[in-house]
Symmetry: C2
Subunit: 316 residues, 2 copies
């Protein structure tokens, strides 16, 4: 058996090191990726994905940890992908958080992984669905993707989940900032975390006011939690379940996944061309770049000439 | 004269509304873009770009505003592009900040603009250099790009400036978080803002320790500022100037701009293909997506088939 099929076979049997290795291959975005997907893909399609996002400091990591505990109480297996430089998964947070997470890490039905994508030309938007697929194939029923909802790529990733949970904190202006960051329109469930602080009710009211101005058919639930004390997680899990049921009834889940796959295929095509430039077109690119710097042509004309070359090469 | 050449001519004469309109065209990423760049590009190449980045709440906007004031004291014209949902330019911050910024907005030699890129398929990484080019062509000598340094695209954008300024605040762990976010390695100048708070010296020492572990030839300056009081901006402006002079002496600036243009051309090529899929390949894409959802093929195989179709179309 080849290296990749062997790795996939071991991952499908639940071997954690093999799973971790597959996700590393995805992060690297190397030549093996197409083969990895070829082997894995037939085993995917059963997981439900939940995106958790919010501003830095909103309590995403603690909330994720508590949600994992709630899901485990239902005896369902969980995968977590953390795409957040300030996440304890990536080693950036308080020791207490990290220890809590390590408890989950000992549970064979929980797989936690922070994502880095330096090697992957397609970046986070391509590496994340591939990593989700690894966890899906090895049997994780619920996959949580935690991202800091600030960057464009991060918002797109969360938007691409089956249910998107947006976290806010009590305090005037937070809802406005959330709206500005484009998070308001992607939320399927709102969480007001740190709800034991003053102003929680005002924040709930603010969110409701913003939702009243929207013309979406379904109004997202607003759940109050205190993640540090584990309060509100039955409500949160119920809200996620309600959104899932609603989508399944209305046939919306399939439409959502269709959009997600379309986006991914387009990204793969774009990456293939980027890679083709790097392998076959590096010399032409360097030469064209020189001409652009000398103002003999502009970047768009350079791109057109590069495309012409790539096209004629793929014919011969 | 056509619409775009007319708009460019008016922008080159300094008409603010025409400049704003050109940046809007860039944000939309529409069909006019290639023509806009064709008209503008010969007028570019004189501006120096400074990236300012750091975690939300680090004081980027106030620091940018004070730096603009310092640059204006030298009678040099300034353009500002704010790519940060929490920036006062985008309307998300305290009233005081917004008023201060409006003072600059009345100065004919300052042009401030927040960036949104919802329409642009290439996203921020393509729209930003194009917007920089607009400001460069109309004669802005210094262009500041302010981004929240959290998302991948945002880090890449800052990394693509001539000088990258990374802002930290006093407090243990901040430098570690900065390193995790990939900001440490892109910094040409470090700013410890809010330096009147306890722990500023510790943060400076922490940064120095991290720098000692790196093997870069040049060690970045570390500047302490109190942006709210306008303290430290002579030092900051001097540090930026030192970095600029160093790069020019060593021929590094040209190499840096070469890398930046290469990246941009690649992004344009990728976007051209994305666009080609949307115009000519939409039906095929929908059909392939259906097959992927049915597990009859995987996303990589679908992408290959789409590329085959795009290639054969460009022959005929």
């Amino acid at each position: 058996m080849g290296r990749v099929p062997d790795l996939v076979a071991r991952a499908l049997q639940g071997e954690r090191r093999a799973i971790a290795r597959l996700i590393s291959l995805v992060e690297d975005g190397g030549e093996d990726l197409a083969e990895v997907m070829h082997e894995l893909y037939p085993h995917t399609g059963r997981a439900y994905t939940i995106g958790i996002t919010g501003a830095p400091g909103a309590g995403k990591s603690t909330l994720t940890e508590r949600l994992v505990a709630r899901i485990r109480a239902d005896e369902r297996s969980v995968g977590v992908l953390a795409i957040d430089p300030s996440s304890p998964f990536s080693g950036g947070a308080l020791l207490g958080d990290r220890v809590r997470m390590q408890n989950h890490a000992l549970d064979p039905d929980v797989f936690i992984r922070s994502m880095a994508t330096r090697g992957h030309l397609g970046g986070l938007s391509l590496a994340t669905p591939e990593a989700v697929r690894v966890l899906d194939a090895v049997g994780k029923e619920i996959i949580i993707i935690e991202t800091v909802g600030v960057g464009q790529a991060e918002v797109e990733i969360t938007d691409a989940c089956d249910t998107t949970v947006v976290i806010l904190n009590p305090g005037w202006g937070d809802a406005v900032q959330t709206a500005k960051a484009g998070l308001m329109e992607i939320a399927d469930v709102f969480v007001v975390n740190k709800a034991d602080r003053p102003g929680a009710r005002d924040t709930v009211r603010e969110i409701k006011q913003m939702l009243d101005m929207s013309d979406e058919e379904r109004e997202p639930d607003i759940v109050q939690t205190v993640a540090t004390k584990g309060e509100g997680f039955d409500d949160l899990w119920t809200a996620v379940g309600k959104h899932r049921a609603y989508q399944e009834e209305k046939g919306l889940l399939e439409a959502r996944r269709h959009r997600r796959i379309e986006r991914e295929i387009k990204e793969i095509v774009a990456e293939r061309y980027r890679r083709r430039i790097e392998s076959g077109g590096a010399e032409t690119l360097a030469q064209l770049t020189g001409e652009v710097l000398d103002r003999r042509c502009n970047p768009y004309q350079a791109a057109d000439r590069l495309i012409d070359q790539l096209t004629s090469e793929s014919i011969t």
